[in-house]
């Protein structure tokens, strides 16, 4: 693994966030790194949740301590201890305990469909989780608390503010300056944050059990390649009537077919026929990537 800061002039950084991740069975899962936006949103969401829990707990504890009976001193002291320990656990434990769980994600990360994994593909250990979260202390809390105390004592002059902003700027934006989107904490802990989105098995567009199908001439099917086929798949799955009408009209015009007033059915049939044709080609080693490429041998 290379040090992620090192600029390599010869190799341009890949734009994609896909990283190869080969399982012991030898299949590449091609994981997708979590985007900076998703991670920032997850972090904000987590803090929103932590804040909510904190405020609710504080209100409950204070109302309890005010309504205390005879042993009020003892009780309010106990509540004070609970409050302090709770705050400590919330601040340090929220991220660590959730990320050590089976989902490898805090509630915020879960909502943004992210999960933390070890870069080497091994088990995500508690040590790694602790390391990546303890480093947050200097990434965010240091400049914030520094600014806070300075502002409280009225001594936050321009230079100090500038310094704190510069510091947090370096650490906040650190993920944007390396191609694997690593925080300093990720770097030290050897972790990655990857996309953990789900997908459900959607309907098979090529299979239509009921009713007859249209057939298309060879010239009508020779117009397009895999790229166009998958674009068509997107259009059909999205199911927006205006998009479907536009695409159907375009295909009809190109292939010289008559309008039969059923765009959706027409496109479904065309999709199935084109898919079958391209798939047959692929089986015998003729893969056509898009409409511009001829029939290229793989």
């Amino acid at each position: 693994m290379r040090w992620p800061f090192r600029a390599k002039a010869a190799v341009a950084a890949p734009l994609s966030l896909r990283r190869s991740f080969v399982t012991p069975e030898g299949v590449d899962l091609r994981l997708e790194l979590g985007s900076a936006t998703a991670r920032a949103s997850a972090f904000l969401l987590d803090w929103l949740l932590i804040g909510t829990v904190m405020i609710t707990a504080t209100i409950i504890i204070f109302s309890l301590s005010r309504g205390g009976g005879i042993a009020q001193g003892q009780q309010s002291q106990l509540l004070g201890i609970v409050w302090m320990l709770g705050l400590f656990v919330l601040r340090n434990g929220w991220f660590i305990l959730f990320e050590m769980g089976r989902r490898g994600a805090t509630p915020g990360k879960r909502a943004m469909r992210l999960r933390v994994i070890a870069r080497d593909g091994a088990r995500l250990t508690g040590a790694a989780v602790i390391a990546r979260n303890a480093l947050r202390e200097i990434e965010i809390f240091l400049p914030l608390s520094f600014l806070g105390t300075q502002a409280a004592s009225g001594a936050a002059d321009g230079f100090l503010i500038l310094f704190a902003l510069l510091w947090s700027g370096i650490f906040f934006l650190f993920p944007l300056f390396n191609r694997d989107r690593l925080r300093v904490g990720d770097l030290v802990a050897g972790t990655w944050v990857v996309n953990d989105a789900r997908a459900s098995l959607s309907v098979d567009l090529a299979a239509k059990n009921d009713g007859p199908r249209r057939t298309f001439s060879e010239s009508a099917l020779a117009l397009y390649g895999i790229y166009e086929l998958q674009t068509l798949e997107d259009v059909l799955r999205m199911g927006r009537p205006d998009a479907i009408a536009t695409v159907a009209a375009t295909i009809r015009a190109k292939a010289g077919l008559a309008d039969d007033d059923d765009d959706l059915d027409f496109l479904t049939d065309y999709y199935a026929a084109l898919c079958a044709r391209l798939e047959r080609g692929m089986m015998v080693g003729r893969r056509r990537d898009d409409k511009f490429s001829g029939v290229a041998a793989r």
């Binding site: 303890a134 240091l142 997908a199 098979d204 199908r213």
Partner: protein
């Protein structure tokens, strides 16, 4: 009817047949994985548990086949994500929390502390040197005290204070109710500082070392004030009861920071990022232990030293704690059978 005529047909595409043949298996794997994510492996019934490995391998090979032969992008995406989820449930499995905790206390923590004995020794030497420096500076000129210790922290315990007032801070009773709250405050505050010292290590360890040196200086300065009034033994006892644990913990936290810093600055034969990861993980284990140590120190400080008033007993508790920690960390221990087999380290 020119180019497009309508005739009845069977499924045209291989992918459709493939999907029809395997969809049930995929669906079952998805159900099992969802169940595992929600609860644990124990929630699965025996049938599912037995079927899981083969279902997972089926899904993986389906993924390979679909990538090579099918043009249905949504199918490939579905299988990719299903396999990823299954992979992390199968290979990323954590042992139970209790087992992890037990392993941490039995082997993980002492081993991590042992591994950084050089850094620990160095940080301790720095702390001691700074302490001595602080002590002699204040003895030679009390004005140094005000430069070293901020007013809020000394809370009147400065060179101008009377012997009675100082004696009261060592032996005085605090209000009965506040002890536990005070202990809690100390614990959370010190732990936060320890985590901070660890994290600062990333900046080539320099801020961590400054933090240690500063702690030593102010400690030495305090000792000087008390020694000046002939209260040296008493103050040392007051300090020892919790100080052995607390200062040891601070030293370890700093050592953990130094370990990361040196790994980043001088990675040796490893790649820099790899060195950082190895150091970072083991130092993090040591640091998590420091929090546990500080909890004990907080209890000793908040409760022990207020209720235990005799000097001898204070020394006794403090020294016993120190010996206990040293024995726990550094006594050689038999390698655990499971660990001896683990080749990964």
């Amino acid at each position: 009817m020119s180019a497009s005529e309508i005739i009845p047909t069977a499924p045209l595409v291989n992918a459709s047949r493939f999907r029809a043949a395997h969809a049930a298996d995929w669906a079952r794997l998805e159900r099992i994985v969802t169940q595992m994510e929600k609860r644990s492996v124990r929630a699965l019934d025996d049938d599912d548990l037995l079927a899981l490995p083969s279902l997972y391998r089926t899904a993986l090979s389906s993924l390979s086949v679909v990538r090579e032969t099918s043009l249905d992008r949504s199918l490939a995406t579905y299988l990719e994500r299903l396999c990823t989820r299954a992979y992390f449930q199968l290979y990323g499995v954590q042992t139970s929390l209790w087992q992890q905790l037990a392993r941490f206390f039995v082997t993980g923590w002492p081993r991590a502390v042992q591994a950084m004995w050089k850094e620990t020794l160095f940080c301790f030497a720095l702390l001691a040197a700074a302490g001595l420096a602080g002590f002699f500076l204040v003895r030679s000129d009390p004005a140094w005290f005000y430069a070293i210790v901020p007013g809020a922290m000394s809370s009147g315990r400065d060179p101008t204070a009377s012997a009675e007032m100082l004696r009261a801070t060592i032996y005085g009773e605090q209000r009965e109710g506040m002890l536990a709250a005070f202990a809690t405050f100390l614990f959370t505050h010190n732990s936060q500082v320890a985590i901070f010292a660890f994290a600062l290590g990333f900046a080539f360890a320099i801020p961590t070392l400054l933090l240690v040196a500063y702690n030593g200086l102010s400690l030495g300065a305090m000792v000087a004030v008390f020694v000046d009034k002939g209260l040296g033994t008493g103050f040392a006892g007051w300090l020892t009861i919790h100080g052995t644990t607390e200062l040891f913990a601070v030293t370890l936290a700093a050592a953990a920071g130094v370990r990361i810093g040196t790994a980043v600055a001088f990675p040796g034969r490893r790649a820099r990022a790899d060195a950082a990861v190895v150091a970072g993980r083991s130092a993090a284990v040591a640091m998590a232990g420091v929090v546990a140590m500080l909890f004990i120190a907080g209890v000793l400080e908040g409760i022990g030293r207020q209720t235990v008033q005799g000097d001898a007993l204070r020394y006794g508790i403090g020294i016993a704690a120190l010996i206990g920690w040293l024995a726990y960390f550094y006594l050689p221990r038999r390698a655990e059978a499971g660990d001896a087999l683990a080749v990964s380290r």
